[in-house]
């Protein structure tokens, strides 16, 4: 493979990671506020179908993306209502919605299955796209991929470098303290869950209008991605930049699996496509290992030159969830 071909392929990895970036950023914001939106897997399917249907009906791509964001926000609103107002288990409601959205997308989407609709085209940025290497990688993309770059940095700046972002972290970590300081915890949780849902809702249309254009029902190949997104959120340690890194790593591994295919004729294609999932478990293990007593004990027996880099690696990977994640807040 020539350098230019490799660069184009890697640029493609950035494109195909776009939907995962939107979904993982949305989930990170929602979980930062203390609400787990477990419906992600079905929500991606429903927004992919709904976004494609809307774009097909109006022959307007923008309408498709807006429809996806609205559907994502609506599903998130149900999660917020059930968990914040009705105090039901977030996991239970999210799981039911994951299945409901999936079945709804298959049922409502069957009339538009296999139709060809509008598709997002590449829009190279003037001047920037001519920069060697960097231009090919980052600036010969479509509009939504550019937006995914912006969303990563926007979320990072918002969460860690603004006052409202500080409050967002506050209502997820110590809601009682945020409440005392004047925050309307439950109203903010509603807001951020729905905002996170709207951002994540872009994931579906980015698939159905760009990365995997069209709606193909059960063989769309989108069933399962939402679960990966939830794992990437954990891998990301509830930080937008690290979550984005996880999304790119996942997309890279999927591409690499296909790339290796000709070299490994003994392994069926279907197996290589699920290869990132065992890796996901491994990374989750590494993220959590720092907490286990027996890991610390085992490490202390190792010789110094081996112990130190291992301990440093585990500490770097380690992440703790927002302290009040999944628990309702009741003001006195």
């Amino acid at each position: 493979m020539t350098t230019q071909a490799l660069l184009i392929n890697l640029g493609g990895v950035l494109t195909s990671a776009g939907p995962i970036v939107f979904a993982a950023t949305g989930e990170t914001i929602s979980e930062r506020a203390g609400v787990i939106n477990l419906s992600m897997n079905g929500m991606i399917l429903l927004t992919a179908m709904g976004g494609f249907a809307a774009a097909l009906a109006t022959n307007n791509l923008a309408v498709g993306f807006v429809a996806g964001a609205l559907i994502g926000a609506a599903v998130a609103a149900v999660v917020a209502f059930a968990s914040i107002t009705l105090k039901q288990s977030q996991v239970a409601v999210g799981f039911v919605l994951a299945l409901l959205c999936r079945d709804l997308s298959y049922f409502l989407g069957s009339p538009i299955m296999g139709k060809t609709g509008p598709r997002l085209s590449i829009a190279p940025l003037p001047f920037l796209s001519d920069i060697p290497v960097v231009g090919t990688l980052f600036f010969r993309q479509d509009v939504m991929t550019y937006l995914s770059f912006l969303v990563i940095f926007g979320a990072w700046i918002f969460v860690f470098h603004t006052r409202p972002g500080l409050m967002l972290r506050g209502i997820g970590e110590r809601p009682a303290a945020a409440y005392v300081r004047g925050a309307n915890v439950n109203r903010l949780r509603y807001f951020y869950t729905i905002l996170g849902g709207a951002i994540a809702g872009l994931a579906g249309p980015v698939y159905s209008l760009s990365v995997k254009a069209g709606w193909k029902g059960t063989i769309s190949g989108l069933d399962g991605i939402g679960w990966i997104v939830l794992a990437i959120t954990i891998f990301g340690g509830w930080k937008p930049l690290r979550a984005a890194f996880g999304a790119y790593l996942f997309a890279f591994l999927q591409w690499f699996g296909l790339f290796l295919q000709p070299a490994l004729p003994g392994i069926p294609a279907q197996v290589l496509q699920v290869a990132p999932f065992p890796l996901m478990i491994l990374t989750l293990l590494l993220v959590n290992f720092g907490d286990a007593d027996w890991v610390a004990r085992t490490l202390s027996h190792l010789p110094e030159p081996a112990r130190r880099p291992l301990a440093r690696l585990l500490r770097a990977l380690h992440a703790t969830p927002p302290a009040s994640l999944g628990t309702p807040f009741e003001p006195e």
């Binding site: 009705l86 299945l99 069957s110 954990i234 069926p268 699920v274 999932f277 478990i281 989750l284």
Partner: protein
């Protein structure tokens, strides 16, 4: 007390009616005749003996996975990895059958050993999720989901690799076993096996007795309610969690074994057929109580089978059955929340 019971029932009925209403709206929105669709689901499930026997075929693995999940729910665990546990049950059963099919043993013995092997597979996979949770700190939901995909990968690899049909490897699965290795069925044409129904019924009774009538069950529920308090009371919490994973694996493995020995007679890519996730839905709908599991699982199985004909008769996608199941669970969960809010409000006024 009596009044609370009535209001609970009212909210429950309200939830069910809202679910039917929403499904009707979905049908109208997709320009389909709602009544014809509902009538078709009912006729498709109980209209003929043949259809109803299909419902029972689907009831068996669903009831088995629900039975297992009631145990993990009792200790407060969300064993979403049950799909993979069913798959491993199917894989181990197929493995045993492949090893023993030329052994010349009595076929009944071979089938029994194969089902036992399926149980071992389910238990091993469940213990793996349990170990990830206990020793690795990986939440059982994410560990379980990851293991589901790993199980799927192993299954596909076996079907397309070492166990592929001579000549052609395909999504239709491995080479079917000789008829002598099938669980005997009620009639030659149907795949309904009396033995499988007995296994499922005995399983749910065992789980009901275990949770409601034993000291072990009581301590499991104590761990589920408040692990810290249970630990302070001297209950070995992580051992109880591991035990409940292992027990759930038994029933998941049985579900996989039944799928191979009585329904498909071979290993197929979708051997778990989503019964694990559906079992989670049934468990939620019965509010994690074993008493109602059997009838509700039967109803869900009827919706599954009843919607199979929809594409042929009404040109509707068969996922309608799933939509109805999911909205039912969603609205019943929401109705519980509304009831609690309502009771709290009326309680405040007194």
């Amino acid at each position: 007390m009596h009044k609370a019971g009535w209001s609970a029932a009212l909210f429950q009925i309200g939830g069910i009616l809202s679910a039917l209403l929403l499904t009707t709206v979905v049908l109208v929105a997709s320009k389909a005749p709602p009544f014809a669709a509902f009538a078709n689901i009912i006729l498709g499930s109980v209209g003929t003996w043949n259809n109803f026997s299909q419902v029972l075929v689907s009831w068996v693995p669903l009831l088995l996975s629900t039975a297992g999940l009631l145990i993990t729910f009792a200790v407060g665990l969300w064993n979403i990895g049950i799909e993979g546990q069913i798959t491993l049950g199917g894989i181990f059963t197929t493995w045993a059958l492949r090893l023993l099919q030329t052994s010349g043993w009595n076929p009944a013995l071979i089938i029994a050993v194969a089902i036992a092997a399926g149980v071992v597979g389910g238990v091993l996979w469940a213990m793996l999720a349990g170990a990830l949770k206990t020793f690795g700190g990986v939440n059982e939901i994410f560990g379980g989901l990851g293991l589901n995909f790993v199980a799927m990968a192993i299954n596909l690899w076996l079907i397309f690799g070492p166990w592929k049909r001579p000549g052609i490897a395909s999504m239709s699965g491995t080479m079917p076993f000789a008829q002598s290795l099938w669980l005997p069925t009620v009639t030659p044409q149907s795949s309904l096996s009396l033995a499988a129904v007995v296994i499922a019924v005995v399983s749910i009774l065992v789980v009901f007795g275990l949770i409601q009538g034993t000291y072990f069950g009581l301590r499991m529920k104590a761990v589920g309610r408040n692990p810290r308090a249970a630990h302070l009371l001297g209950i070995p919490t992580w051992q109880y969690m591991m035990a409940s994973f292992a027990l759930c694996g038994v029933f998941a493995g049985l579900a996989g074994a039944v799928q191979v020995t009585s329904v498909y007679h071979r290993l197929i890519p979708a051997i778990s057929s989503g019964y694990g996730y559906l079992g989670l839905m049934v468990a939620m709908l019965v509010n994690y109580q074993a008493a109602w599991a059997a009838p509700v699982a039967l109803f869900f199985a009827a919706l599954n089978v009843g919607s199979i004909q929809l594409p042929i008769v009404l040109r509707l996608d068969s996922s309608l059955g799933g939509v109805l199941q999911d909205t039912l669970v969603l609205f019943v969960v929401l109705a519980q929340g509304f009831r609690r809010r309502f009771q709290k409000r009326t309680g405040d006024e007194q």
